[in-house]
């Protein structure tokens, strides 16, 4: 048990911040475990989604960002689809990942983050994803140089890998959307964080 829970009256701040960013109400989570029960990735996770939501409810920010859970989420949305309280849990995972990045937290598991970055970099650079380049770049960045190299020649042989990247006439437009969305999220992040700080005390934040 690495953490002790200290309740200081300010514990609902994190819930409020995430509620505001996701348009969900995490006070509705009654910890039934249905998300953990259906999650395909729990065997690899430090804690299932249920416990992850509990840490948010209790405002345990350090413990939350220490979990590999959000980074292992495969975005299959089984949890979202079956949550008895209609909480978009997969979106909460997305937003926790995003918050960790914006707040400069240390990411507890490297590979998914690297994959996300090289994938989006490839898209941003070319307008379209160039799979061979992306994989090569991923291997370089993750330090796992020979990852899946066995598959490459087979796929080339099957004609499944294009030799050169495709580009799109809308590449510039796409880059602009990347820039604007990033700025928007940073601003929204600051704002919800400010609002959450400004309104201490009560259990639920979204409606105050």
């Amino acid at each position: 048990m690495k953490y002790q829970i200290r309740l200081t009256g300010d514990n609902a701040r994190l819930t409020r911040e995430i509620n505001a960013r996701c348009g969900v109400d995490l006070t509705q989570c009654y910890q039934c475990g249905e998300c953990t029960a259906g999650c395909p990735m729990t065997p690899e996770m430090d804690a299932g989604p249920t416990k992850t939501l509990r840490l948010i409810q209790l405002g345990m920010e350090d413990a939350l960002f220490d979990l590999n859970t959000p980074w292992l989420c495969a975005s299959c949305e089984t949890c979202t689809a079956r949550c008895p309280n209609d909480i978009d849990i997969a979106l909460v995972m997305d937003v926790v990942r995003q918050m960790a990045r914006l707040k400069g937290k240390k990411i507890p598991v490297k590979q998914p983050r690297v994959f996300q970055d090289v994938f989006l970099k490839s898209v941003e650079n070319n307008g379209r994803l160039y799979e061979p380049g992306m994989i090569a770049f991923y291997n370089l960045r993750s330090g796992d140089l020979f990852h899946d190299v066995g598959l490459g020649p087979k796929m080339l042989f099957k004609g499944k890998l294009p030799l050169l990247p495709h580009t799109s006439g809308n590449r510039e437009k796409l880059r602009e959307i990347f820039r604007k969305a990033e700025a928007f999220e940073k601003e929204a992040g600051k704002e919800t964080s400010r609002e959450a700080h400004a309104d201490p005390g009560h259990g639920s934040g979204s409606d105050t």
Binding site: P40, M41, P43, E44, L72, C73, A74, S75, C76, E77, T78, T80, A81, D88, L91, M93, D94, R97, Q98, R101, Q111, P112, V114, F115, Q116, F119, L120, V123, G127, R128, L129, E131, Y138, S142, H147, D148, G150, L151, M155, K158, G159, K160, L161, P162, H166, S168, G169, N170, R171, K173, L174, E176, I177, F178, K180, A181, E182, F184, E185, A188
Partner: protein, 288 residues
Amino acid sequence: MTYAYYPGCSLKGTAIDYHTSAMALAERLGIELKEMEDWVCCGASPIHQRNPALASGVANLLLSLSKGISPQVAVLCAACYHNMKKAEVEMREDGKKRSEVEEISGIAFDPEVRTRHFLDILDKDYGLNALKEKVVKPLSDLRVACYYGCLLSRPPEIAFDDPEQPTIMERLLEAAGAETVSWSHRMECCGASHAVPLTHAVLRLVNDILQSARAAGAEVIACACPLCQANLDMRQAGILTKFGVAHNLPVVYFTQLLGLACGATGKEVMIEKGMVSAAPMLRAKNLL
């Protein structure tokens, strides 16, 4: 029947067989899939994992490219469908979200636009009876396990069939004469893009899925998503190494099977592209 067709990156790369077979099928059915110009990548899962607003912004750009062709946007890839449909539904129902996304993408959202998966188009617009009429080589004696994966029907708001017990692929393949098996892992996650960064987890998930399909007596898995196909097909070698299980179960796109049934050749539907080839089995059944 003309649709604005958004292929997405995989369909021009690793899933070229999905694209090619869909075009062959569409041609035989008289459905025109007119490719949108200058399309970009939808960003798949990584895009909303990094920034949900970015995902919606890009989806809005993609939807806008349908202008001049048709407000009906045909999509084959489940991840593309998921991103675009989710953004579309969200923008139609939530005015605040809509103006945010319009601001980020610099593009006005057209509420008339509809993202449609090709399965849905075949079922609702084309119809099972019309499809049956086009079948020249029924897929008799072929036991197919239909695999839906996650993104076609989650969240339930974007589903075009029962989100927990879909039957659309079974209905289409049965119309083409195939026998479909009832199996448990039709909607279990294959691990999606974790195939690269977390291969061990994907091997575990894919192994369970293949085991379930085989236990149900399937001879082939039909799917509707490039990533599902890639994981279920390409990872069989890794499963053999890791778990010592040789599944040898071909994984094809539903469009490949329907294409064959409607008279396309094996070459036209690129049936040879799979790592575990479906060709020998299909040839033995006289379907090639």
